[in-house]
Every structure is written in structure tokens, then in C-alpha cells.
Symmetry: C2
Subunit: 332 residues, 2 copies
């Protein structure tokens, strides 16, 4: 592998000049620039990124921590982050934290040790204090889907409460008055917020919140099934179910069908996240769209702005989810 030194010799200029044309910093005569370019081409020279990093104290790589690499939600997010960042010539180092505090911390340590210029964190389990402490360090961070009041400008969040609200409201507007709810794990902020929104909508419509009709799942399909079985076993009538994500909604729909209930004729169902498979389901699942890829894009731009000094980038910190009505909801 050719080095910058050989290029400079072949071009008959100095190291610094080659460096200049590479980074087009400083002024270089078109003529010498051409000579350098020719030499570079001839040698098939490619700068050594590690040396560049060491010398410039900048690695051009940003660390990303998400709960899982698979699953419909994070794939979309990653996709947009990667695109935006690589278009800017930045490397993207990805790790998965599996919603476990120790693992998440471990990942963060790992990314810091990889000399990332910035971190994009989608964590669930790490305590806020840890993030606050981290943010005082030299590496800029962006926090996704996890609102830390002290770090509000670094957080990009989806308004989960609003999502729960509009999901429920949609059902109420379709004439449903007896609603069940299948929640995610109550210790996850997302779950909690969505449920709050649900309750707010009920209250706004003058309806009582019946805690019995709230079942807790784990965001996994199987838990949606269990929750639905449980709800149906209660013998409390309800005509619609709000689910805190699409996987659980899929499970719930299937259980309803097994119990001889038709969706949406006998029971309406709405999910959350508007993940890609919702439209493969039958009936097509109504859901709450999360603008996942927009959020990823914004996160990437934040990094470009905070870590690489790109200005003129508008940053929107909070996203409102939107209702996506399909076939699983029917008026009563």
C-alpha cells in the first residue's frame, strides 16, 4: 500500500501539499494539484484512515447503540442513520445492547474505546445519571427515544403519550366505548407513556379507566396472545383493543379469531409502530406511524452538527406520531 510519502515523491512535491489536495484544505495551484492527483491515481494510493485519525484527532466514525439489530423497528432506523452518515463520509459502528443495563454500558464503553466522534444511543436500561455523566465527557451524544430532561437538546423523541392518545381516540371516534389495552412492560418509558395517552383519551371522552382491562405484555407476539386470552377470560365486555405495539396486536388478533371473534366486525384492533408487516396481516392492521426513518435522519444530522460542525441543519427534537388507519378498525 502506497503512502503519502511515495505520492509526494512521485509528484515532486512535499507531504503537506499532498495532504492539502486530499483534504482540499488551503490553496493549491491547479497545476500542482493535477500532478498530485495523477500520482495518486498512478499509485492507487488510498490514505490510511488510522493515521489520519491519529493525526487529526478525529476518527470519522460514529457509534450507534440500539437494543437489537433485528426486528422491524431498528432496521429502518439504522438504515436511515447509516445512509445519512455515510453520505457524509462517516463510518458507522453498530452495537446491540439487548435492553440490559450491563450490556448497554458495555457497548458504550466499547464505542468510546473505539474513539468514536459521537454516539447515537437508543438505550432503555442505563440510568439517566449515567447518560448525564456521559454527556459531560468529550464525546457528543444523541439520545433516541428516551427523554432525559437535563439533556433535552440531545434527545430525539417520539411523543409516545400522544401516540397512545390518538390510537385510543381513533377507536372512540369510531363509536367504541369499551376498550381493552395491551401494554408493554411497565418499566419501559415507552410503554408507560403510551398507556398514559390511552388513559387521557378515555378521560377526555368521559369514560372510566377499568384497570382490569389493561393487560401487560412484553412487546412480543406471544405475550400479546397471552394478554388477549386473559382479557377474554375476564367476561368483561369490550369491543376494541389498543395494543402497545404491532407484534402484540398480531398475536391478539389471532387469539380473537380463535375465539370465534371476527376482526374488525366483532372487535376492532389497533397496533403501534406501523411496522412493515402490518400490511401483510389480515385484516390489515391499523397502527400508529412512528416516522422512524425521519428520526434516524435527524439523529444523524444532529451528529453532523454537534460533532462535525456542520451548520445550517435544522434539528427537530420531538416527533408526533400519526394515525394509520387500515382494515382492523370498524365503526360500531
Amino acid at each position: 500500500m502506497a503512502t503519502i510519502y511515495e505520492v509526494s515523491k512521485l509528484a515532486g512535491v512535499s507531504l503537506a501539499t499532498v495532504s492539502r489536495v486530499m483534504n482540499d484544505s488551503g490553496k493549491v495551484t491547479p497545476k500542482t494539484r493535477d500532478k498530485v492527483l495523477a500520482a495518486i491515481a498512478e499509485l492507487g494510493y488510498r490514505p490510511n484512515s488510522m493515521a489520519q485519525s491519529l493525526a487529526s484527532r478525529r476518527s470519522n466514525s460514529v457509534g450507534i447503540l440500539i437494543p437489537e439489530l433485528h426486528g422491524p423497528f431498528f432496521g429502518v432506523m439504522l438504515s436511515s442513520v447509516e445512509k445519512e452518515l455515510r453520505d457524509a463520509g462517516k463510518r458507522v459502528i453498530i452495537t446491540a445492547g439487548h435492553s440490559d443495563e450491563a450490556k448497554e454500558k458495555d457497548c458504550i464503553e466499547f464505542l468510546l474505546g473505539s474513539s468514536c466522534d459521537a454516539l447515537i444511543l437508543h438505550v432503555y436500561s442505563v440510568p439517566h445519571e449515567y447518560l448525564i455523566e456521559l454527556s459531560k465527557g468529550p464525546v457528543p451524544i444523541i439520545i433516541l427515544n428516551n427523554y432525559v430532561p437535563e439533556l433535552s437538546d440531545k434527545c430525539i423523541v417520539l411523543d409516545n403519550e400522544h401516540g397512545g392518545y390518538i390510537a385510543t381516540k381513533a377507536l372512540l371516534e369510531h363509536g367504541h366505548e369499551e376498550l381493552a389495552y395491551i401494554s408493554g412492560p411497565s418499566w419501559k418509558t415507552d410503554s408507560f407513556k403510551r398507556l398514559s395517552g390511552h388513559k387521557r383519551a378515555l378521560k377526555e371522552y368521559g369514560l372510566e379507566v377499568n384497570e382490569n382491562l389493561i393487560a401487560e405484555g412484553t412487546f412480543e407476539e406471544a405475550s400479546g396472545r397471552l394478554a388477549m386470552e386473559h382479557l377474554l377470560s375476564l367476561d368483561i365486555p369490550f369491543t376494541a383493543v389498543v395494543c402497545a405495539n404491532d407484534e402484540m396486536a398480531a398475536g391478539a388478533m389471532d387469539v380473537a379469531r380463535k375465539h370465534g371473534l371476527r376482526v374488525p366486525d366483532d372487535i376492532s384492533v389497533i397496533g403501534y409502530d406501523n411496522v412493515s408487516f402490518t400490511r401483510y396481516l389480515h385484516p390489515k392492521l391499523s397502527s400508529i406511524g412512528c416516522r422512524i426513518s425521519e428520526m434516524g435522519q435527524v439523529a444523524a444530522r444532529c451528529v453532523l452538527k454537534n460533532a462535525y460542525g456542520q451548520t445550517d441543519l435544522e434539528i427537530q427534537n420531538t416527533f408526533k406520531p400519526r394515525l394509520v388507519l387500515r382494515d382492523s378498525v370498524k365503526s360500531r
Copy 2:
């Protein structure tokens, strides 16, 4: 950020000694080692990975190129690759090539420029010659799901032909004799192989291949719908459809239902990939399981072996898919 120099001063030893305890290379007295460890802890010292890389000519990062970051297939693959590699302390740099030759090359260039120690490539569009040329370079490569005869030991492939064969055979064994086939893009090797397997099974059962009953899609759900519409418009009777992936199968099932056909009573359907949402569908889609995560794991181990000299790792180069029977297939 503390440097190795400060650690050495605080511990009262030389740079070299600190380096030795860090990499536990060479012999160090337990006593001095402890002093060094203490100093490291006190300063919260973390070695600068870029400097390490530059000096050791090894970046400890491996580049990964896959067609897409989202989608159920690649997420699972990534997930297992990342886990395996990070457990070994390696960074994972991920890029998406979008099945486009220029972009794929671009990604490879990018990864090479990132001084990766090895590359794991899941490419569709780049010509074999390019890969062969690349393999002659200094960076070891592993090729996923794309068999290059000249590079057979570097390829980890799924036996797609066999998958197409067993999918079709399953239907034949259920008594179906009039089969339609919805293929992926014919220029993708995967598609081609799966279709070959389909044809082989038919011939083995003494059935004619009716080219009219083979429709070409793009691996996307919408194309599955179109293909199914087309097949149904033909007025050629068939009692089962083999689809080259699950997304298209989902589309096909829905179209069948819209045409008043019940799955599996009137028509049996089988997909391919056994992607996670298959079990959310109704009826649950039968499919061909691809052992995606095993393949990812093996790819990672290949890298550990070829680029990092870890021995005693058994490498299996080719994987046989397996049949996953669910509710969308019924005997005739």
C-alpha cells in the same frame, strides 16, 4: 484522556512495560504488573484504538456489506455476526449496498479505506471478477450467499436450489400436481437457483414444467400480488403456489383471498426464508428456513480464523435449508 505515557510515569515504569501488561505480551513481574494495573485504574486510562491500530497495523474492525439494513432477513444475519465479533473484541462497520453495482463497489472501497482487517460481503451486483481481484488483495474476504467457484473456500452459501426443491416437493407430497411459481428477479442467483430446484422437483415427479405458471416478481410484497393476479387471470388451473420469498407469499395469499379462494383449502401456499412475520400471518405461512443466524455466526468465525489467526474453528461452507410446515399447506 490519559495516555500510556502518563500511566508509565505514575507507575514508575517505562512505556514498553505498560504496553506489555495491556496486551499481556512478554513477561512482566506480578509486582510491576500490579503497579501498572493500579495506575491504569487510577487514571481511568483507556488505550487509544487509533494509535494501537496504526502501530500494530491492525484495526480490529471488520467491514460488513449487506444489501439492506432493514428487512427481516438481514437484521437476523447482522445480529449474529455482530454478537460473535464483538465478543471477540472486534468492531463491526456496517454498510448497505442496495443491490446496486456502483453502490456495492462504493461500499467496498469505503470499507477498504476504513482499514478493515476483513470484509464480510453480501453482494448481488458486483461481478465475480471484481471479487476475485479483491480476494487477491491484502484484506481477507468472506462472501455470503453468492457462490464464486474460484473462491469456494471463502463462500458461505445456502443451498438455494435445494430449498426450491424441498418447497416444491412438500407440495407434491401433499398431493398437488398443478403448481404455480412466483419467482424473484431472474438476474439474482438466489432466484434462479430456487427456481431450478422447483423445476427439478417437478421433473422428479414426472410433471411438466409449465412456463406460463411461472411469474417473476421482485421479492417485494406488491410484486407478489401482481404475480398472483397475473397467474389467476391465466385461467390455467393450479392448486398450489411456491413463492421465492415470504413477502411475495404474503401478497399472493391476500390476492387469493380477494379472489374468493381460501388458503389452504382452495390453494396451498409456501414461502421462502421463514422470516419472522410468517407466523403472524393467517393462515400461518409454511416456508423454507434458512438458518440465517447460523450463517452469520459462521461468517464471523471465518473472519476470526482468516484475519485474526484464531485456529480450531470449524467452518461449514454450505447450509441446507429446511422445510417449516405451518398452516398454509394442505393435502389434496
